[in-house]
Each structure stands twice: as structure tokens, then as C-alpha cells.
């Protein structure tokens, strides 16, 4: 919010930007190859604060501001679901002071979502907080449940906020659920444990499969974020060498364009290959038939 004042030195600048953004997102949307589910590892808030001589807290706030801008672009372009890595279970190892500040920030922002419903209402976003919520204090947990309750009927898009989350915990959680289900359905011979079932019991189970993962700050690992989903074949991974608060909509637009371009061309190519295969098979079949016809003759 403080950043807005810096950009509006030229009159009509932000309006023009908005206009360009709208046109871009609609253009991307008609390609029909927009990623359905995007994951973000929002890394670099603290380094950003250090570099700009801000407090760590202000760094996180700048990060939140970036997040809302990026998500706006994504949802307008037709992304159905976004998952952001806000807080790892490992983050509890940070200094108590910072953990407290992060918790407070979360509390404020979630109240903001609930109260003004700014983004949630404009885009009809269903907010879901995923992770091991039992690690949080009760007040925050109530706020989160409240936010989920209020937005649960929104259907346009989903925002998953991973609050105390790790990918491995998610897998174990799903395994526990599945084992419990297996016990409950022990008489049912049709009950089979398979990949689908584990997938459906993940926190992200009822959302479309992940298509694109974006990590900022030049780190080249997943840090335990959605390991099950990302390891799947065909998930595009973008590792960007810039701190999260510096990651602007322009870069996001570039990534979206790249994704859409590659997907629409590779899809077309795949279709062609399939067609070719069909033709080959037909030929063989026909050859066989003709040989048989000859023999019988």
C-alpha cells in the first residue's frame, strides 16, 4: 500500500497499467492453456528487508503486498487455484520474536480478508488454510476457521494458504486418513488403496493437479513444499533469481506467457503424434487384413 504512492508520479500511470494488465490477462485466457493450479514459494522477504534496511516485519508486509498483486493477475488470467507457502513447520525454529511477528501479520491479514473481503469478494475466492493447524494457538485457529467458513461458498477460484505446512507432513497426514478409511471400510471389498485415494486425501485433494511451481530468491530446492504434487511428471518448475517482494506482475506475466506458449505448442504436437500413431496402426491392420484376404483367396 505504501508502494502505490511511488508509482503514481505520472498521472494516469496506474490506470494505464491496469488497462494493460486486463488486456494481457484476457489474451492469455483465450489460449485455453492457462495453468489451472499454481504453487508459490514466497522466499526472500527477510533478505529484502535486510537489503533495504527495513525491519523483518516490514519485509514480510512487502511480501504480502506482492502476493496480492501476483494473485490478482493469476486469477484474472484464469488460474483456478493458487497455493502459497506462507509458513513452514520448520519456521518455528526461527527467533521467537520473528515467529510472533509472522503470527500477528497472519492474524491481521486474515481478519482483513474476512472484514473487507477485498480480494475474496472481487474475485469470489475461496480461502483455505492448509497444514497442521494444531500447531497454532487457538485464537489464530479460530480466525482461520472463520475465514474459511465465510469464503467457503465462493466458487471462482481457490487460494490455499499453507500455514504451518510441510510436504512430508501432508503425505503422512494423507496416509493416516487413508488407513483410517481402510479400517472404517474393512468389510467393503471394493475399497482399494491406490494413488488416487492418497492424492484425494492430501490437503489439496479436491483441487486440480499442480501445473506450475514458482520459487523466488534463487534457491534451487523445494524446501518441503508440495513434494508429492511437484514430483509428478509434467509439472513446470520456475526458479527465479529475485527476492519475493521484487517479483512483480511483469515477471509473472512473462512466466504465464512462457507456460501458455509451451503448453499450446506441445499439446498440438502430442495430438499430431497420436494421429500419426493411429494411422500407423490402421495401416498395419489393413496389411494384415489384406494378407489374410490373399491367403483365403
Amino acid at each position: 500500500m505504501d508502494n502505490q504512492s511511488t508509482t503514481s508520479s505520472i498521472p494516469g500511470y496506474s490506470l494505464t497499467l491496469k488497462w494493460i494488465k486486463n488486456i494481457f490477462s484476457r489474451t492469455i485466457r483465450v489460449s485455453r492453456n492457462v495453468p489451472r493450479h499454481v504453487g508459490f514459494i514466497m522466499d526472500g522477504n527477510r533478505r529484502y528487508a535486510r537489503r533495504n534496511h527495513l525491519q523483518v516485519k516490514e519485509g514480510h508486509e512487502a511480501g504480502f503486498f506482492t502476493m496480492s498483486k501476483i494473485l490478482e493477475l493469476c486469477y484474472e488470467s484464469g488460474v483456478e487455484c493458487a497455493t502459497v507457502y506462507a509458513f513452514s513447520i520448520e519456521n518455528f525454529k526461527r527467533s521467537p520474536h520473528e515467529v510472533d511477528a509472522l503470527m500477528k501479520l497472519a492474524k491481521d491479514r486474515i481478519r482483513q480478508i474476512v472484514a473487507s473481503g477485498e480480494m475474496a469478494e472481487k474475485y469470489g475466492i475461496k480461502v483455505r488454510i492448509i497444514g497442521d493447524l494444531s500447531l497454532l494457538d487457538k485464537e489464530l485457529r479460530d480466525d482461520m476457521n472463520n475465514a474459511m467458513e465465510i469464503t467457503k461458498n465462493n466458487k471462482r477460484a481457490v487460494l490455499n494458504i499453507c500455514f504451518p505446512y510441510t510436504g512430508r507432513e501432508e503425505i503422512v497426514h494423507s496416509m493416516q486418513n487413508v488407513v483410517e478409511l481402510a479400517q472404517a471400510n474393512s468389510d467393503d471389498p471394493k475399497f482399494i488403496i491406490d494413488e488416487q485415494l492418497i492424492n484425494a486425501n492430501l490437503y489439496t485433494g479436491d483441487q486440480p493437479p499442480l501445473d506450475l511451481l514458482i520459487r523466488t530468491s534463487g534457491m534451487v530446492r523445494l524446501s518441503d513444499f508440495m513434494v508429492w504434487q511437484v514430483s509428478n511428471k509434467g509439472v513446470a518448475i520456475e526458479l527465479i533469481d529475485c527476492l519475493w517482494p521484487d517479483f512483480g506482475p511483469l515477471r509473472m506475466a512473462w512466466i504465464l506467457l512462457k507456460f501458455v506458449f509451451q503448453k499450446s505448442f506441445s499439446n498440438r504436437n502430442k495430438k499430431m503424434e497420436d494421429e500419426d500413431l493411429d494411422i500407423d496402426f490402421n495401416e498395419e491392420d489393413q496389411d494384415e487384413i489384406s494378407i489374410k484376404a490373399k491367403k483365403s483367396a
Partner: protein, 349 residues
């Protein structure tokens, strides 16, 4: 006779649509094939893609919806035209980027050339501050017609990586290929490694290695370790310089599913309580079934795609790949190690 003639006719008509398809440039770029990558073809393809796009627009009048408001035909057409313009400009940029990357890779391959000598690799590695304990590599079998394609190419690539890893002094290597082709051809792979190591170290000094297939729980040792009569002595004399585990898609999600099944069975027999299923238990089981997490994962394709690599094993693994590269080369290997040496790991902090 009539029938056969009819056949050839139908075959011709069947083939005809294929000739209309000009592969778009991006595809050629993605596949890394330089063969169909000349300029006239890319221009043609862009034209074709434009044509296809406008065709599509006609087929689907309700092309896009914008937050509930359906776009009018004219609007859709406008945005489609804009999209084609965006595609063309991105395609042009991509073409330039591809050429630049290929040039860079060619230069890097000249700079980093192991020339089958472990000493050179040693020298490269000695400069690094730290080296990973375990590395993993994702391999792909290329189509038979390509350079380095087919099973032979895959075996060759795999054994090259084994040699580099031994020379770098890294003791654990995971080789992953989606279909488990390496697993199925272990004996061929073993001979190939033997040959390559002989080439690197000379016939007398081939380092001892073990090939492990975690899925079937098998370990294969050096050929000459088996040849001698006294196994005990041999094991004492030659310590294993490298352990290669061969992984496939089967070791990924499916192994987790199997583990869940086993746990469900144990629970129904009251041998395991639901509360006993913890992260620690799952971790120890999966380490036992698949292996420990690698520190560095090398990918030799054009854009990182984990292809179903075991999800449990990529928690803090660093990735390295070169954009637009499509070959297993030493430069990727050593640059991956260099990147690893320059990074610090922090868990959550």
C-alpha cells in the same frame, strides 16, 4: 487385387493430413532437435499456427469467459489476434534464446572436457569447498534415431555419470529413469560400467562398485569380485568406491501407496495403532525401501521436469539443469557440483 489397390489408396489419403502439419518451431526447440529447425520452416509454422488459431476461434464462438461475462465474438477474435501476436513475438525471442543457449552449451562443453581422465575431474572437484554426499540424476531414453538414443545411448550416459561420480569422490549415486529401463537391463549396464571404468582408470585399477536395485532388493557387485574364489578376502581388500541405486517411477508414489497398504493391514490386525503412523516411521520405512534423500539432483533435459522422482526424497534436494540442454555432458555435472558448493542449506531459518 482390387482390395489391395483400395488399400494403397486409403493409405495415401490417410497419410495426406500429415503433410499439412508443419511442426511449430517451439516444438523443435523443446525437443532439442536441430534437424527441423531452419528459418523458413519456423516462419511457415508460425503462419500455420496463426491459421489454426483463427480457425479455432470460429469453431468456438464462446471462446473465453471473463468473470461470468461472456465475451462477444468480436472481442474473442480481438484477443485471439493479440494472442497470436504475443506468440509470434515470444516465438522469435525463444528462437534467439535457444540459439544463445545452444552456443553457450557448446562453449561450456569445450571448456569442461573430462577426456576420460579421472585426474582432470579430481582437479575440477578439488577447487570446490564442499561436495554432495549423494547425488541423483534423471535420465531419459531418447528415440532410437537420435544421436545417443536408444538403450545403448542410455547405458552409455548412465555409465559416464557413474565414472564422473567415482572420480569426483562421491560415494552414492541414484540413477532414475521413468520406465526403469536401467533396472531391466542390469547385466548390460554392468558391462557398460565395467568398460567405461576401464577406459577411465586402466584395466588394472577398476574401482569397486555396487549396483543396487532397491525395489527388488538386489545388489550386484563388480564382476571380478565374483571371479575370485575367496569372497571374504576380496571384500576386505577392495572397499566399494561407489554405490549406484537404480530407481524408476515404481519407487515413487507407488511405493508410498504400498507402504500405506501395509500399514492399513497391520492396523486391521491390531499390530499397529493409528497414532503410531508418524513422520519418523514413514521416513525410516521409505529410506529403507527407496534410499536416503540425495543432496543434488541433476537433470539433463531442457527444462526441469521431475518425472515422478520419489517425492519423499526431494525435500531439500537441490536441482541443477541447463536450459535447452538435451545431452548428458560433463559440463552439466561439474556445473551442478559448483552450484552446490556455492549454496548454503538452511532448514526453515
Amino acid at each position: 487385387m482390387d482390395k489391395i489397390q483400395g488399400n494403397t489408396l486409403s493409405r495415401r489419403t490417410g497419410n495426406e493430413p500429415m503433410t499439412h502439419h508443419i511442426p511449430p518451431p517451439a516444438v523443435a526447440v523443446l525437443k532439442g532437435s536441430q534437424l527441423n529447425n531452419n528459418k523458413t520452416k519456423s516462419v511457415k509454422a508460425l503462419g500455420a499456427s496463426m491459421f489454426m488459431n483463427s480457425n479455432k476461434a470460429k469453431e468456438l464462438p464462446h471462446g473465453g469467459e471473463f468473470w461470468g461475462k461472456p465475451m462477444s465474438k468480436l472481442e474473442t477474435l480481438l484477443y485471439r489476434t493479440l494472442l497470436v501476436i504475443l506468440y509470434i513475438s515470444y516465438g522469435l525471442f525463444r528462437y534467439g534464446q535457444y540459439q544463445y543457449n545452444k552456443m553457450k552449451l557448446r562453449i561450456l562443453n569445450v571448456i569442461y572436457n573430462p577426456a576420460s581422465t579421472p585426474q582432470l575431474i579430481r582437479q575440477d572437484v578439488r577447487k570446490l569447498e564442499k561436495i554432495p554426499k549423494r547425488i541423483a540424476a534423471i535420465l531419459e531414453m531418447k528415440p532410437v534415431g537420435f544421436v545417443g538414443g536408444g538403450l545403448k545411448g542410455l547405458l552409455n550416459d548412465g555409465s559416464e555419470i557413474v565414472c564422473w561420480t567415482v572420480s569426483a569422490g562421491i560415494k552414492h549415486l541414484m540413477l532414475y529413469d521413468y520406465d526403469g529401463i536401467l533396472q531391466k537391463n542390469v547385466s548390460e549396464f554392468q558391462t557398460e560400467i565395467e568398460n567405461k571404468l576401464t577406459q577411465y582408470y586402466g584395466p588394472g585399477n577398476v574401482p569397486n562398485y555396487a549396483i543396487k536395485i532397491p525395489h527388488s532388493n538386489k545388489i550386484y557387485y563388480n564382476n571380478h569380485a565374483e571371479k575370485t574364489d575367496d569372497d571374504e578376502n576380496n571384500k576386505k581388500a577392495g572397499k566399494i568406491a561407489i554405490e549406484v541405486s537404480l530407481l524408476s517411477n515404481r519407487d515413487g508414489r507407488e511405493t508410498i501407496v504400498d507402504l500405506t497398504k501395509t500399514m492399513a493391514d497391520l492396523c486391521s490386525n491390531n499390530e499397529l495403532k493409528l497414532s503410531d503412523i508418524t513422520l519418523q516411521l514413514v521416513d525410516s520405512e521409505l529410506v529403507h525401501l527407496v534410499g536416503k534423500e540425495p543432496d543434488l539432483l541433476l537433470y539433463f533435459g531442457p527444462a526441469l521436469d521431475l518425472q515422478g522422482f520419489p517425492p519423499w526424497q526431494i525435500r531439500l534436494t537441490e536441482f541443477y539443469w541447463e536450459t535447452d540442454n538435451n545431452e548428458v555432458t560433463y559440463s552439466v555435472f561439474i556445473r551442478g557440483l559448483k552450484q552446490y558448493a556455492g549454496c548454503k542449506i538452511n532448514v526453515g531459518k
